[in-house]
């Protein structure tokens, strides 16, 4: 099994994954898997169905156990690290018995902060996201896009070092996708939070990414860990930029090669 001792992390690495094993009912998903996630960057994860994209972030975020291996956050364990997680299904992730405001405030309240601090933190997030809708409403009274915005705000409330997003756009319409894409980019640039995004839409994956992790079919390996250095912040029009198109088509090429493999 590989460890950080045999394979040290590059400088600027946030998450170090070494010798990761994971099987489901005998079927090997990951075997001696190594990966370095750079700090403060957005990493998009893209790959064929069933290759374990969500499984990967679930293992890193501790929602799923690993069979073997180590996952370190700048040398710290998960328990010593503040994380945030945005789920695909915001309806099932928000707490319907609390108003949207209380949902965002909840993790901060539970961390023992004073009323004043909680209020300030929520105000900061409201300013960052330029919220115009009424946060005193219950989640089920909001539109899908508003609910997902609330769940992203809640995930950022504790000022996480790393934010995981599992297909955050898949239940949203195009307008909301553009809005949330922009807001996630702003959050990353202004706070330096590392982000790992699982996406099944190549455009969404490329748009936000500093790095694009292309995975193979099972047993999952890294097909390519592409860098995408196009200047940030990127605007919605950036998707028509030749540099963007080039990166997207290269990713598509790799993806199709993996599909055929």
């Amino acid at each position: 099994m590989t460890t950080v001792l045999d394979l040290p992390a590059e400088t600027g690495t946030h998450v170090t994954i070494r010798g990761l094993d994971k099987s489901f009912g005998g079927a090997v998903l990951y075997k001696d898997f190594n990966l370095d996630i750079p700090k403060g960057k957005i990493v998009s994860i893209f790959g064929p169905n069933g290759c374990g994209k969500s499984t990967l972030i679930n293992m890193i975020s501790g929602l799923m156990s690993i069979d073997a291996g180590e996952i370190l956050f700048e040398g710290k364990s998960l328990a010593q690290t503040t994380i945030g997680y945005v789920f695909q299904n915001y309806r099932d992730a928000l707490f319907p018995w609390m108003s949207a405001w209380d949902n965002i405030a909840y993790p901060v309240k539970r961390s023992g902060k004073s009323k004043e601090e909680v209020k300030n933190r929520v105000e900061e997030l409201i300013a960052l996201f330029e919220i115009k809708f009424n946060l005193n409403l219950y989640p089920y009274e909001l539109s899908g896009g508003q609910q997902q915005t609330v769940s992203i705000m809640r995930a950022l409330a504790m000022k996480p070092e790393i934010l995981f997003l599992d297909e955050p756009f898949s239940a949203l319409d195009f307008e909301m996708t553009l809005f949330i894409r922009t807001k996630l980019q702003e959050a990353n640039l202004s706070t330096g939070v590392t982000m790992m995004i699982v996406s099944h839409d190549l455009e969404d994956a490329v748009f936000l990414a500093d790095k694009i992790l292309l995975l193979t079919r099972r047993p999952t390996r890294i097909s390519e860990f592409m860098s995408f250095d196009m200047a940030k912040p990127r605007a919605p029009e950036s998707v028509s930029d030749p540099e963007f198109i080039k990166t997207k088509s290269h990713a598509l090429e790799v993806f199709q090669r993996e599909m055929r493999a």
């Binding site: 975020s61 501790g62 929602l63 503040t82 309806r91 707490f95 993790p107 539970r110 809640r154 995981f164």
Partner: protein, 255 residues
């Protein structure tokens, strides 16, 4: 449009009026002997009288008290137990058969058993009604916890919420809509069993006692009147619980 809306507001009373008409018709057409079924007007009049004079009051309160005692005990025991069982599926699976078996056994069948234990007492009536209600409450609370949305628990885990708070803030809240279903069916069940117990376990008061007493002496107006009051009590309790439920678990059915 206005007229239409006004007419629609009367829809709920169409059924009751139709019932009264059929009732009246059954008597005028001599389908039923008046000695078995008095006319609706007379019955309702008699009922009104019993209410006005307060004659039925003592029995009503006795039944309501027993039902509430049973319901209270069943809630205090059932909700925490249900939630505890639900959050440990292994323990729930090991007692599931017992809960399902006794939940499916008509509790009235257990009256003789309870008679052996508690004798002909008020405690007996409350005990058996509690027993019937508590199973429904345990079952529903446990399922409420077991069917809690995994995503919400996961969300709380990723926020770093301590386990005891996940239990209190997420699992407990998640179980509430189903718990309320249990409470509502539980209170109805408690009333059913209290009425049966008042009929057959030597009683000196209660609506069940009043109904069976009236039947014994062939006071049919009294009997029907008491049946109607009992029905109104059951209906009222259900309605009350629906209203409370709508206020407290406002998100039920919306997510």
């Amino acid at each position: 449009m206005f007229k239409n809306l006004r007419l629609q507001a009367f829809l709920p009373i169409v059924g009751p009026i139709a019932l009264l008409l059929v009732w009246e018709l059954a008597i005028t057409a001599k389908w039923v002997r008046p000695v078995l079924l008095p006319p609706p007007g007379e019955t309702l009049g008699y009922l009104g009288q019993s209410i006005m004079s307060g004659a039925i009051y003592g029995d009503f309160v006795a039944t309501l008290k027993r039902t509430m005692y049973s319901f209270f005990l069943a809630t205090v025991v059932g909700v925490p137990l249900g939630i505890a069982l639900g959050s440990n599926e292994k323990i729930y699976r090991s007692v599931e058969f017992l809960i399902d078996f006794f939940r499916s056994t008509p509790s009235s069948a257990l009256i003789p058993l309870f008679l052996l234990i508690f004798g002909i007492t008020d405690v007996n009536k409350i005990a058996i009604a509690t027993f019937a209600a508590v199973l429904l409450i345990i079952f529903n609370s446990a399922y409420g916890v077991m069917n809690a949305k995994k995503t919400r628990v996961n969300a709380a885990i990723t926020m770093g919420i301590p386990k005891r708070f996940i239990f209190k803030d997420v699992l407990f809240m998640e179980s509430l809509p189903q718990t309320f279903v249990g409470l509502r069916t539980g209170v109805s069940m408690a009333l059913v069993i209290v009425i049966v117990a008042e009929m057959f376990i030597g009683s000196t008061d209660g609506l069940g006692h009043r109904i069976i007493d009236a039947q014994q002496v062939f006071n049919v107006k009294e009997m029907y009147g008491s049946i109607l009051i009992t029905g109104a009590l059951g209906y009222g309790l259900n309605l009350l619980f629906l209203l409370v439920e709508k206020r407290i678990v406002h998100w039920s059915g919306k997510v």
